[in-house]
Symmetry: D2
């Protein structure tokens, strides 16, 4: 009997990149609101999603320092289960409802990649950093207080893909005024057999389900964001035309389930 939520499957189940849910996460987050070319957003949407005409290209660029645990104290093995992530969320409409959609996402950990692919996040490897807040007072501490400055960056294969800056101005009492759309993804697994290469084995529009979502210590302030053009990457087509506010906060949730939005598409 072979065990594992993901490959590799083994009799003991220790080697699997991902074990069975629940998956628990807590993170520090920097998210930058911005507006990009609405046509570039529309061109990235998968079947089932339509452009959000009211959004005018609104998007968020996120940087996250994550800690993961399953049911076996994985958080005490940080070399394996702590990781960093960066992604873009663009605004769209599904069945009349406003949603976010994730076209680009980068992590520095293979377990995160395996769990993400199972959800529909198109994860690639990247190197992600964000300024952290430390408790011991110092010019290096970046406390959560008015005027504190934060930076964040994403690189892959030695190319800088995004750089952000944020200066804290004020707390945000209710994070739902900022983060209020559910997130959709495209769960996709191709076929390599020569006669089926145009027919993915899995191609589903999915909706992220987050149990026990907590967003805490939300600060807002002025922000900068750059997404430079890099050979071999298309993300710069979502570069900012205008940058809004930046946010810094803590976020936690658990994952035990996934909603398939176009269930009829599951068995083409």
């Amino acid at each position: 009997m072979l065990k594992g939520f993901s490959v590799p499957l083994t009799p003991q189940g220790e080697s699997a990149l991902a074990g069975s849910p629940p998956w628990h996460y807590s993170s520090d987050c920097i998210a930058i609101e911005y507006w990009t070319d609405p046509d570039a957003v529309a061109a990235l949407l998968p079947p089932g999603l339509a452009p959000d005409e009211g959004s005018q290209g609104r998007a968020f660029f996120w940087f996250l320092d994550w800690q993961f645990t399953g049911s076996n104290d994985e958080l005490t093995d940080p070399a394996r289960y702590q990781y960093r992530e960066a992604f873009v969320l663009v605004e769209a409409v599904h069945g009349g409802q406003p949603v976010n959609y994730c076209p680009y996402i980068f992590v520095d950990n293979d377990a995160a990649m395996a769990r993400g692919w199972a959800q529909g996040y198109p994860k690639k490897l990247g190197s992600v950093f964000q300024t952290r807040s430390f408790s011991a007072p110092s010019p290096a501490a970046a406390p959560l207080s008015v005027g504190s400055r934060f930076g964040a960056s994403l690189a892959a294969h030695g190319e800088r893909l995004a750089t952000a800056r944020l200066q804290l101005k004020e707390t945000v009492a209710d994070p739902r005024t900022v983060f209020n759309r559910p997130t959709t993804m495209r769960r996709y697994f191709p076929q390599l057999a020569a006669d089926r290469q145009g027919l993915p084995a899995v191609d589903e529009l999915t909706l992220s389900l987050t149990d026990d979502l907590r967003i805490v210590d939300v600060w807002a302030g002025s922000a900068e964001l750059r997404i430079p053009e890099v050979q071999g990457e298309d993300m710069h087509r979502l570069a900012p035309r205008r940058v809004g506010r930046g946010y810094r906060f803590g976020m936690a949730y658990s994952v035990t389930d996934l909603r398939i939005l176009n269930d009829d598409a599951r068995r083409r």
Copy 2:
């Protein structure tokens, strides 16, 4: 129209981890023949494969320095497309035919991971090194000649998973005397929807198809291999009981297709 063999799919198709085949590969390889616990091999085999009773636990541990290219001169972007790999091949039988099966494989590159998952290789991230042969004469050159010594290693998340040593003794005229079994894999993609977590979306036994296979400059010699026990990994259950010969050679092939061996299983 979104493009890409793998995610992420984009209008331009530059961001996809993997573009459409053909995929061309050339490598330097170190492979160590060894015998492990036959029961440990049997316990890892997926449905459709049976233990090879004559093998008595025979396996090969491989280390590879790869260069990849598609159709767009990817080999001139080595930061993105050059990579290193290590894997185990165990011997088994499929429909009466002797085959190899790959239960564990590690790479240091996300494009290689995406292509591998599409084939059925259960790739995880690792750090892989092998001694190289350089053309400029020096005590550091490790030439392909009698007495040259090579080392190789695999690590993941800061744990050493395998270490090998090899000393060249003689050339091998016909590599088919050593490498003569086709390789099978388990192509597997799970479901996360709560009511289907035990039902993988894709679960196929596959056969690797390699066009224009070339194996050159084959040397054999004495070898050592260690696969230590590491927390969070099951591979040590395939640790060597006895080590055979080691091989050092060049190998190239192209991939354009994949054979699904249990096609009826494709749509459970």
Copy 3:
């Protein structure tokens, strides 16, 4: 006019690994008290230090997540200036005064290596991780509270050099009851000219000077520590015979100066 505290010196001074002090630091720390072979400690001490007979091999193994800044908002460039570190401090005596001495230290950042070498820390590259405390409540958050569990690890070149575990039990009101010895180092820079290879250009016993030292949020609890034997490293000779308590805390200080303890040795 070329600028830079360290190499490379340039007209603009941007490229230097280290700029001129002050250097400001804030960190999260895990430190494990333990006892090792007193003879192994004595054998590592440089000229000018004597074994502390009362210590019976007492040492601390530290893991640190650091944020650095100089005078130019370096903390907003975390890809360059955030780093992780692990080191051993052994107890010794200098001129009758109890001190710590640092024989082994690892970081994952070249600027930290350059500043460290200038102080006398014998830094090598390593991969360091520690469980972090996140503010958003979750099984993954590891809060600073009774029963929370933390892990930490150090690896170099794909070998695990140290692994620690800590479970919080209680706060420590006065950190000076635990951390009360100044730290000494050996500042050392060799010569390569053939006739002087046994005569280092710099060989000084130094004392770390930390301005504005702050140690906050100190928790203590039960601990585990392993320092396995690894080929090519001598640190395992300081492996624990007995492990004491573990500590988790925040620490900050600034560096502007260094004391040379054996000033007569500075110009051999």
Copy 4:
């Protein structure tokens, strides 16, 4: 008795980043000839070197895949001793003699950094890649033959610092027609004691001594080179105004000694 050419010094001498010479090296190299701003070159020269008026800003940008060994079969531990490097050599004059000078150099290995600093190479950490030539024929093999294309890149902290392309055209019979200047460096180690921060402990002009130098399999061809402006690095001031030929070759030598050119400066 503590052992080691470099820190850390230990009774056994295994932990030292660098053991005593001889140090043996063999490599694959890509070097791009180019011309930059002569004033930018002049501004980087240390005391003792003068601009080479005839050079008009001539420089070479090198990428190297290195294998190192000392006297203990270090080449069989490639995870520790194989490394990659990139550097610039600018042309200058010392005492009337034409020389090269190395203002910028990057490696991905700490032992290489320690040996380099002892010689005067101002090494920082970087991520370096070059297309390799493999023996097994394939579109991915990049053989040493007319028309083969190579790429190379240097990145640090997630920023691309240099990108090169090369297409082979012809062999070069005598490499001395291309590589014929000795290389000088600035060996430099600062002081941190507050009253001596402007007075380096070591500040020497040095000359690289290479025993048993071998340059083999030299090919020349057309080349491209880009050195983009990156925040926190000054190297872009040596960006190319014009690019000459590119070279691909093997190189080996051993290091046992170093010449100090301004010996009077050694004991300021």
